[in-house]
Symmetry: C2
């Protein structure tokens, strides 16, 4: 055990996964060899499929959650209020509770409404993986390999619970990205909600072109419209639950497309958009090209260090007893590369 | 030899490829084992790379084209006028000439301006493959495996030249899709130009979200913005060369995105767009699920049959001495599946 901000940290040994869809099912199966895992789902067929796949399955949330170190709530956002209420009643004092919904401000509000954060410790989470399939039958042991998994750090987040959960997820090969719920929601509006809405618009307009368009649609249409096939409920949650930020992202995208259209109409060219889009995409490709590692002490300065990591888009790659390994993006601008922080890390 | 509309058809044995970028380089290398192939490129380094890869390389267009059965012009659209002029001067009487540019109405106009169609037979072409890379160094023997390759059929197209070229391309494993230049350009506005412009808008807006957005961008952003990395010149040709149809496609996409934004602003939901986009994408997936084959006689009715195939989004999969094998999409609507034509085929 190691003290963090005055809180004791115990490693997580037992986990309840509430909701065995794509994310919950994949996570429960992935954790099973190393942890004492139990799953539960409101749907009887899903419970039977999970049991047939070798997963211990409980009959109720109360039975699943009882005495567990960690509760992962992997239900859709609309069910979160009710499920978190049941979890808060049944969880043991000191248990950590997390979720996997795609918008974090509403999830934080639901957790506060359920009374989590007092005795039972809430850490909002969001794995950046696999939205276009659903259900336990799509669950996949490799779903989280190398994925980014956001764990929210608010001003009052219990860092011992955060670290314990980060230890589990980095142990699965995830990069754990610290962020406030508000910063997360602003960022995903542009890189997650927007691509889903663009994919839907593309699918509709492309297919409206008739049989020849269907026949000629190739790689650019296939990849551009891929996530249009995501369950409408997930896309709706992603957008309706993050209203203001998604409106801002849509406004920005529409402005660029209308600019290209107006240029074409006036005898001009789409070239400025093509150049700017290519530059932006290469900047994203480049953001992963160079990264620097540092090791950060788990001490009373950890909260400030995680905030710096969040601001730079960095991640935690492993959690030890007294230190945390961090990855800081090297941002390239023009000729010289600069590393955003690692400054105050130990190495 | 087999008479088609009064024209003799001779199989193609010798091919000149003018322009050895991604498409021309890949095609020349792919044809090399079975055909007498020569390539030519305006760029000396490309000529040296091609020669080093074992490709016979000519010093000039005139030398490359002289006496060849087929000339494939694989230069960008802006160079087409000049190159087609040089090809028309050097090509032997009866030679077939095709191109690979992404818009077919301007290419047809360039061919007519160069005097092709009188003695030298023009067939506009467009392989639906590989826009986001470029250059001979990216050339790939597998680039056209299973790809759709449009060969234009206008009212005055020489069907013997069309069939000879279709025989070469189906022999490489391509599906040859007949279409008029105008129908092609209308269809690709929605399924090719539009995805490129949406990808560029997505890349710009997503990356503007800063380091955290860069870090959280995952599968939906990666696939949705992939073709933003295409050479700006290709995207510009695709859109500026197909101005009216691309404006129409952009208008339709912007209307859908603005509808979703206005719904969000007014307290409503993006759900209608999510549902419609999912339905459209599944319709595209389904369009390939069921297909029917038929064999069509090469006789004086061929032009009408190719027009029916074009209207249904079908393709030619092989060309024999007296027959053509066709693939007709089975369009699913509601519960029953109907095959668009094959009606008058032999089987």
């Amino acid at each position: 055990m190691s003290g963090v901000d005055g809180t004791e940290r115990s490693p997580i040994r037992s986990v309840a996964v509430v909701g065995l869809g794509l994310i919950g099912g994949s996570l429960a199966r992935r954790l099973l060899p190393a942890y004492d895992v139990v799953g539960v789902d409101a749907d009887g067929a899903t419970r039977r499929d999970a049991a047939a796949a070798g997963l211990p399955v409980a009959a109720s949330i109360a039975e699943a959650v009882d005495g567990r170190d960690l509760v992962v709530v992997a239900t859709p956002l609309p069910a979160l209020d009710a499920v978190l209420g049941a979890v808060a009643e049944a969880a043991r004092p000191g248990a950590a509770v997390t979720d996997v919904t795609s918008v974090k401000v509403p999830a934080l509000a639901a957790a506060r409404a359920a009374g989590l954060g007092e005795g039972v410790r809430w850490v909002g989470g969001h794995p950046m993986a696999g939205v276009e399939r659903s259900g336990f039958e799509s669950s996949d042991l490799a779903l989280f390999d190398g994925a980014s998994w956001v764990l929210c750090v608010e001003e009052d987040t219990d860092l011992a619970a955060w670290l314990a959960l980060a230890e589990v997820l980095t142990g699965l090969g995830c990069r754990v990205v610290p962020a406030t719920a508000a910063a997360h929601d602003a960022a995903v509006a542009g890189v997650s909600a927007l691509p889903h809405l663009l994919a839907c618009a593309l699918a509709e307009v492309g297919v409206a072109g008739g049989p020849l368009a269907l026949a000629l649609a190739a790689g650019s249409f296939r990849d551009g419209s891929r996530v249009a096939a995501a369950p409408p409920g997930l896309v709706t949650t992603l957008c309706d639950g993050n209203r203001d930020a998604v409106v801002t992202a849509l406004d920005a995208a529409i402005a660029r497309l209308a600019g290209a259209r107006d240029a074409l109409r006036g005898g001009g060219s789409v070239r400025p958009l093509a150049v700017a889009g290519g530059d932006a995409r290469r900047r994203w490709d480049g953001a992963r090209a160079g990264e620097r590692r540092s090791t950060v002490d788990i001490d009373i300065g950890l909260r400030v260090r995680l905030a710096a990591l969040a601001a730079s888009g960095g991640s935690v790659t492993s959690v030890g007893r007294t230190t945390v390994d961090c990855l800081w993006p090297v941002v390239t601008s023009g000729d010289d590369s600069t590393c955003v922080d690692p400054g105050r890390g130990r190495a």
